[in-house]
Symmetry: D3
Subunit: 294 residues, 6 copies
């Protein structure tokens, strides 16, 4: 099946983007620099994620990397730039710093907010900012040689792009604290045992094949159901059970309809894969409405 | 010891209910239909739970099933009924849908709200709605051959009766998401490792004996202490530590008294099992007060 | 390096306190009474913790014990005192009880609030109130023979000093409930698997050496970074991700400066350990300001 | 127009219930006892409210009273009953007390949860429990001679059925505190100025006519719109603006449909009153589904 | 004083934008169509607001209108477009509806999020969507003939763009409910008394002069102080006092510096107006950093 | 009646403290310096409040001032001290600033946390920090010539000691914002109308007499009831209604007893003032228990 979304294929400075059989693939593409996160990365990532979000036919995203390491984290040049700007009035500098941190956080939060599941596939080291990125994904898979480091602590700073906010909700709190206070390496098998990783693989190719397989399983399900599932789980993690159940019922009142259920049942009877309609065919925003009226 | 509560023994269409030595047993009893959740189930379950809650002498509940599988989940007839009712004005249908989902959720939430601990004992498959039910129990035990499936995703719908709200707080988030997005089976040993199950047993009889043993340990403790413990843990899971500590202190100001402590100390000295008074002897509601006045 | 903080060395009735190479050591010192928590313990502990907090040069706290067991929990004499005071008007008694519980809780919460990480090292039994204490620490380490018990349940009371509020956020909920409802022992290896412990050691000396090693790793990092990390993780555990990210950005606007980063970078270049300035040199409170003005 | 709902007309011991032109009228009917709240009142009120809620054609509720005073509040006999039951073990008595208070609170909260707006019309005194009741209504109207008293404070107790929880969100906090701490009378004109009352009238008949007029205005609007409005405002009062907007959008996704909008537009064109379909024609609960299947 | 920001002067289809003496003026400019909110309005408004936000020299925003009425609310054409799109699968339509409502809400929320105070000046009618807009402003001023209507209720729908979320926190709850349930007009003097308006004026010119005067008073204060004040108040409205105080202290740790205080003190001594530096001189975003590096 | 508490009479540098007929009086006593808040004030205030809190017989607190103005707010010397300390490493300075602000905030929050109602009586100006103080009181009364100013804004800083956190919950939000953004004076009659003040009086003596009268009315009520009322209202302002009702029921389970009710009823019968026992006779803390054991 060729769809509109399959047409997307873009090359950015720091990552490549393509869609294949309803799965969006984002791949870090600066292996020669250990995929360090230079300024361009921070706006290219959300741009790529939004491009996938806006195409109704994309049903899952796989984020992976190239070279020996997943990513060396924040590029030194970002700190250099910051240092330069540290000469103004300290209050105004503080305000600028605050805006900048919020902007960098938002870049990674795009992975949490996009309507489809995001699967990360990690080889080698994932350092500092890369751990922030991984914590914002839905699921994490890695090779046996992968390792993770909350490096910021050893660099004289507090990690500020999401690791401290998300990691203690992904693994046992006592372990999360030890990792963050010491900045020590955290290997793949310890990470699997702790629940940070869903599965560990022998090598990168095996991992990529397996992760693609899981993404396909997801893509084979109703996009309404999967997107609702992501929203409901993320909501539940931040609200009481009673609030979450009430939200679920209200969500379901509009989103639960018989079309996809009947599609699923019929497919089951005929022992075929069900074929669900895409989530939406075209952009649904107000600018589109405006143009339409012209 | 024979108590008032031991007198309860009822047969419903979808489950049986009995009390034995201060433990309430609820057992699904439609093995020939894989204990699928037909409309009757949804009001019989809370009715049974409330009956146990209202008798001051019940100190723990064990919920188990019969036949090869724990439960096949929501019965197809429920969806058929819903489909029929989908022809009205869509807004009013949405409102009806919302009320119906809230009602079904409430049915399972009775297990969370009942003042005594609920232990679930699972054999074979627990599919869809059955996972929603298990997530609302306090503890889960299973046989080696048990498995769990968030089946809704593969049926074209978003699970809406509690699994998405409770599961991500019971097991590592990344795993909960994978299970819910794919709808794949989740076996007993994976579930034990993830913390979903407390223990796994070789066969159903061994499991039922062991679970009964744990329930008896609980029933041997002060019912004031156990009921307070359940309320405090559930409260803590939904509030900050500071708020929970404050609530604890206020709770304790009325609920902590020396009677049960002295009972416990004396029993310890005499190397006997302590004998605590039941939580209440009779219904405490306002209708009772009204009748009393006549 | 000798610092001002190294001068602290005090002996209380229930614990000893010393500072060595920027690490504060609190050790329970009543092994002959199984380190039971007598009234003096409850005000000596926060006093010791505040003393360490107030000295800018302390960068981590290790809490350990002496004798065969870590601590037998609340001393019986506390209950005896309470029992005595139970003869007044029940409303006023309730109010008094509430104030007392809040005060005891606050004593342990000092471990959560102190600006530096607290590492607990446990040998033998940790019973009742001792589990409340351990749950308020950042990380827990133990010997192979260690075990933990929410003993209160078996003593006819609801644990009220933090275990029920913190434990269900440290280990799988179903397990936390089983332990609290039954009051059964919870051994070191089960506790390690459940995430309650970070590591288990063969004997106490090996444990104390290893824990000291981890504390040193922490002390070698920037005290600004470590203290910010503790605050951010504790905040994140009680707020939504969005709220926590916003708080992080605001925190960083004042707390992130280049001094420590440059210190770290230079040290790295010179392959030396970085030498960070202490968090503060003198007390920063308003009384100090007042005296200064005289 | 005669509808199914118009058929409801019941007499309880403490109140009368009737439906007229889509408006439900609940009237306290024990003027000879100053409409004091005897045990029967506490279960008759929610029963009446639920009866109105369950009939899709009811679109607003007016609650009023008879005799010189709206209500003298909790009947003395309730306290007498409580006093009698105060001889058991204090912990179990505390647990019983807690359940009883929750039950009485729930009785009044039915006014907050019912899907239609509740308008209260008050003459004379509204004392103690009557103020709790009025705070749970959507809007309050009164005669010039009406007055309100948080009487509990002067009777040696803390008001426990909702006044302290709701009043400080209805009027300026400083005033709410003064009224609750002193227990002094709060007259109609002070109450109007403070925002507790929406309007004040010269006498009861004038008030009842005006309130009926407002109820009719409400009943003339789409019942989907009005019920959605009540739910959204109550939700907003307890959540952040961002959470409330998100909930609104999700609600609207199912509940906003063109049927009622077109009905409204057509009526406007033809200068007629719009005629909206009732919210639902029959009970939507799971027992109904069960019976249907027989 | 001429500043960079003074250069902004743009004409959109639905509004005009200019900056004068550090105050941004947004004016609705389709009086011939009663300033109804056509699709273009919904993206032009946030675009204009963001333009003002991005220029460090703007210190307050005044939003006003032209013609007899402030705004007739949502343009009919928007509903027509929606109606057209209502033929797809109802679940996907619901999802589209949800996204669209969120987008429209975000458009108005830009007024709440912009770092400077927003003052609204209202003449004549403000209907439906216009009330949603006004509720998102910081302060509201009006002419004597102004009136407000939650018109949606009378049009068969639930107001979904912020009125129900914000109005009950701006005026007494009972009044907010009456207005929303009935859809009746709410006049300027009733609105002043209820706290919805800060002040009422005889005619539009007098109002515009007075509002400009207030905006100037604000612009004369430190932009750091004013922007911090807006953020702190908005935060406090959605958090507990304890949380808000903690956030305030953390905010202050970076944002409170002596520069502006000294500026203020010196100006006071010299009986001059203080001259504060703009909040920032150039864009602070990550794209800027990227370009800089080229 | 002479009681233990009546014995308290202390003179501090910045305020005087005395107890008369169960009412604690705190009076600012530096009229010659306009009662500006010098460093000593910030620890003397909480010390005085805690002294009153610790004596079970005190039932209300009145805080007033001397001279032409209530208070000129923060003394300049505090800023001067801060300025001096601004030369260290900016990160460590930020941390110090944060600790200092928290300490000053805590000083005023003692008025919110003390178990008895606090009534403020204001003459003349209340500037900057004085408004922070007044917002933390339960009720505010003033003379006709009183006025209030959020002066910080005009001094180049964001008010950081509670005004921005509490004022927008005491008066209409739009007005609170105008006052805080402009820093303009807010007169007694505007403040009365807005709900900030409970009552306005012609002169200070008349005010002090009236406030004393209200304090006596409060002191005549059961101290259990009044203290419970304060705690419940403060809790309700920060939690949902459902949470607050649940807390109320749990509170009541221990705190509601028949002693005070019977006292009240008997007094009413005998047309006498009831005579309630003090809240507690002696300090209830753990140090007391410790000493007792010696």
């Amino acid at each position: 099946m060729t769809t509109q979304a399959d047409a997307i294929k873009r090359h950015y400075e720091t990552l490549s983007l393509r869609v294949d059989e309803q799965i969006g693939y984002i791949q870090l593409c600066r292996p020669e620099s250990l995929n360090s996160m230079i300024p361009a990365f921070w706006f290219e990532l959300p741009e790529a994620v939004h491009a996938l979000d806006a195409h109704g036919d994309v049903r899952a995203i796989v984020i992976s990397s190239t070279g020996k390491h997943f990513s060396a984290g924040m590029d030194l040049s970002v700190f250099m730039d910051m240092a330069k700007s540290f000469q103004a009035d300290p209050a105004r500098r503080a305000e600028k710093m605050r805006r900048q941190v919020l902007e960098l956080q938002d870049s990674l939060s795009s992975l949490e907010k996009v309507r489809v599941p995001v699967l990360a596939a990690v080889q080698g080291g994932a350092i500092g900012g890369a751990v922030d990125l991984l914590c914002a994904c839905d699921m994490r898979y890695a090779t046996r040689d992968a390792y993770f480091t909350v490096k910021e602590t050893q660099l004289g700073m507090t990690a500020d792009l999401g690791t401290l906010q998300r990691l203690p909700k992904l693994i046992p709190v006592g372990l999360a604290k030890e990792l963050a206070y010491t900045g020590r390496n955290f290997g793949a098998s310890e990470a699997l045992q702790a629940g940070f990783l869903n599965q560990v693989f022998d090598d990168q190719q095996q991992m990529l094949d397996a992760v693609k397989g899981i993404a396909r399983q997801i893509a084979a399900n109703s996009p309404m159901a999967v997107s609702g599932t992501k929203q409901m789980i993320n909501y539940a993690l931040e609200h009481s059970t009673a609030q979450s159940l009430e939200y679920m019922a209200t969500w379901q009142s509009g989103m639960f309809q018989m079309e996809d259920v009947q599609q699923a049942m019929q497919a089951q009877k005929q022992r075929q894969a069900p074929s669900y309609a895409p989530l939406f065919g075209m952009q649904s925003d107000i600018r589109a409405m405006h143009k339409q009226n012209d």
